[in-house]
Amino acid sequence: MNNKIKKILPQIITVLFVLGIFGFFTFNAQINMDNRGIDFGFGFLTQESSFDVQFSLIEYSGSHSYARAYLVGLLNTLLVSFISIIFCTILGVIFGVARLSPNYLIRNSAAWYVEFFRNIPLLLQIFFWYYAALRALPVPEKAGPWFGVTYMTIKGYYIPSFIWTNLDVFLYSILAVIISIIIISTYAKKLQENEGKQTPVFFISLGLIFILPTLTFFIGGVSLDFEIPVLKQLSKTSYVFDGGIGLPPELIALVLALSLYTSTFVAECVRAGIQGIGKGQKEAAASVGLTPNQILKLVVMPQALRIIIPPTTNQYLNLTKNSSLAAAIAYPDLVLVFAGTALMQTGKAIEIVSITMLTYLSISLAIAAIMNWYNKKIEIKEK
């Protein structure tokens, strides 16, 4: 009996304490909102937002609703995170591998790269790129072309845009390629397990990836045109680039800072993963007669990836959360558009901040759930 009380009493006290805090806050919020004449509710989401966003992936103007403004911000956040994740992975893998190089110079340059970008606050890096480095770029009329058709100017990076005809046929062909690759690799695995035959899955897949989408250009009526940005004179002194896609400097600064900063952490994950594979594993693989390529592909990488992927995903998650620093340089991400402008206009502090936090929280939890599932799947099954 005594034991039971010992177990239940602390729990009851804790729950009451937490409920008490929540109750206190709700009570105060109620009074405060009554005093200021604000009422709680999410009805504002359907109202007309009447503010403009300078960079948007979907069609948006002031006549759209707040819900759509939220979507614009969310998409911008996802866009900048997605681009940065790609770059930080590439850089991270290169520098992570370079840190293990037998070459003294390469090893140490990679180490200094990591130490350098890791130890400067991200916000300062973003400010540096945006206010100092990108401001030194030429104005549109003086910008020379990069790679012939793109222009890096103080107003952003202008690249040609694609103009597709029958894009859907092309996308279907890619879908078909993915499905057929999955089917082929399952079949090849079965074949190897049952009969010990090896199929060159990689080359077959590579061939499929190239051939099928290319075929659609000849048969499916798909064609691709480029719209190249052209310099246009607005008035005597002001020029802009017309046509193509203009990436705003805010986006470029963010992508630069986020991918350089996060790549240092990814590099450390990669290094730890490769170092985590014991020498014995490689020697054992060599002694059963595997070639160096097979050792890398069948023995080292599967084990190294098991160590690398979980912390790296964590870094991707951090990157996505860090992308909220966009607000500091006025890139219209979720925080700036929704928790900034929309909050200022509606004054619905509690609702808007909660929605913003819940959005990030659900992204984090979703990725964490996928990661847990993945870890369970790849974990070493000990008997």
């Binding site: 729990q11 806050f25 606050p121 916000l123 959360k321 909050l343 936090m357 984090s364």
Partner: protein, 423 residues
């Protein structure tokens, strides 16, 4: 391939190859160096592309010539083993050396030779390089924010006292050592809080009151991160114990708390502190902006701290718990006297890393209008008298932050190495 054998050194012509190789290698480096430092291109008579790649080709041939398995010459063997193991490495080596040589003159001339530091107006900056005059003039603002100039000694004194008190624990007499954890977890934070509060904000003991709005610069970064650290540590400890508790409600609440704060970005937490907190507090209750920010960061960082401490708790062998229980110790006695002292020692490097992350995160308080270093830079940058020196400001701030963070990361790395061997 046999016909190419005359290109490989053997015992007879080894020294010829060595001298020719070294000669070619040094010529390639000399060419790039002359090109970079004196801006003279000695190979300009060659056609464009070839002139650019010539040093690379010559250096590559040179390195190829001096590559041997073992020569017995110490310097040569070190070079071969470290930067010249195969062709691919040789090219990368050359590229890195060339990149360093090429990057040195412009950065040196920008930072030192063409830079200005004398004078105290914008007009004093005549060179093409950096204008360190700007940093010099604004230095006190960058360090102390809007804090009155003649009172800066109070901030300095407060920091010196806090650091001295931190080291005080190391000089305790042996019979007092058992209270060390108590000192650092409870007494030290309270004393440090009082010191900083009364010295920096004043208002008592004959010191002039300085409102928190005037605090700023790098010192604010330290104040915020220091307070957050000392407050988030106990919070993290409670949460870590809660997460490992076998009482379900307590465990779920701890997990919920930790996962919630770890899932949201700090910037939204700061927004919350500035717009949501006031709503949640009683009407007539006013809370300073700085205090709200510190509370918000503490709540946020507490979750990260909890995970670090949990790592330490999990690293302890089960035997420790069993031994404590078999002595008849209860939950609290066991944790206070057996588990926590050992676990906390294990997590010191982790806590150090959390503190590092905290210091790197504090510039974010800029978004709610507190002007620490990044905020002061933004302020100085838009000052009409000092337009156009953003680069200098950010380079200066980056150097300062880099030194602090690098020192801290090295320190925590050393601690980690030290504790690894002790166990």
């Amino acid at each position: 391939m046999n016909s190419l054998n005359f290109l490989k050194s053997n015992k007879q012509n080894f020294y010829y190859f060595l001298y020719i190789g070294l000669f070619l290698f040094s010529i390639s480096i000399l060419d790039v160096a002359i090109n970079a430092f004196l801006k003279i291109n000695i190979t300009s008579f060659l056609p464009g592309i070839f002139s650019i790649f010539l040093p690379l080709i010559i250096g590559f041939i040179g390195l190829n010539f001096i590559r041997t398995e073992y020569s017995g010459i110490k310097g040569l063997d070190i070079i071969n083993k470290n930067i010249n193991t195969n062709n691919f490495n040789a090219i990368l080596t050359l590229l890195i050396i060339f990149a360093i040589i090429k990057a040195t003159p412009p950065s040196l001339s920008w930072m030192i030779f063409d830079a200005n530091i004398s004078g105290d107006t914008k007009e004093a900056c005549t060179g093409t390089g950096a204008c360190w005059t700007y940093v010099k003039v604004w230095f006190r603002r960058f360090m102390y924010g809007m804090y009155p100039n003649d009172l800066h000694w109070r901030i300095n004194l407060a920091f010196i006292l806090v650091i001295a008190l931190g080291f005080f624990g190391f000089f305790l007499r042996d019979n007092l050592k058992k209270y060390l954890a108590l000192y650092y977890v409870i007494i030290y934070p309270i004393i440090a809080f009082l010191v900083i509060y009364y010295l920096i904000s004043g208002g008592a003991f004959g010191l002039v009151w300085v409102e928190t709005g005037a605090w700023g610069g790098l010192s604010l970064t330290f104040i915020v991160s220091f307070f957050c650290l000392i407050f988030c540590f106990p919070l993290g400890m409670i949460l870590a114990l809660g997460r490992r508790s076998n009482l379900p409600m307590i465990r779920y609440i701890s997990i919920g708390y930790i996962e919630f704060w770890r899932g949201v970005p700090l910037i939204t937490v700061l927004f919350m502190s500035s717009v949501m907190f006031p709503m949640f507090l009683p009407e007539d209750f006013f809370m300073d902006k700085l205090v709200r920010v510190i509370i918000a960061i503490t709540l946020f960082e507490g979750a990260y701290c909890a995970e670090v401490i949990r790592g330490g708790l999990q690293a302890l062998p089960r035997g420790q718990y069993d031994a404590a229980k078999s002595l008849g110790m209860g939950y609290w006695k066991m944790h206070i006297f057996v588990i926590l002292p050992q676990a906390l020692k294990l997590v010191i490097p982790g806590i150090c890393n959390t503190f590092l992350a905290l210091v790197k995160d504090t510039p974010l308080i800029f978004v709610v209008g507190l002007a620490e270093l990044a905020g002061m830079l933004a302020l100085a940058k838009t000052n009409p008298k000092w337009l156009g020196f953003a680069m200098e400001g950010y380079v200066f701030a980056a150097i300062i932050f880099w030194i602090i963070c690098y020192a801290m990361s090295k320190y925590s790395y050393n601690l980690e190495a030290k504790y690894k061997t002790e166990r």
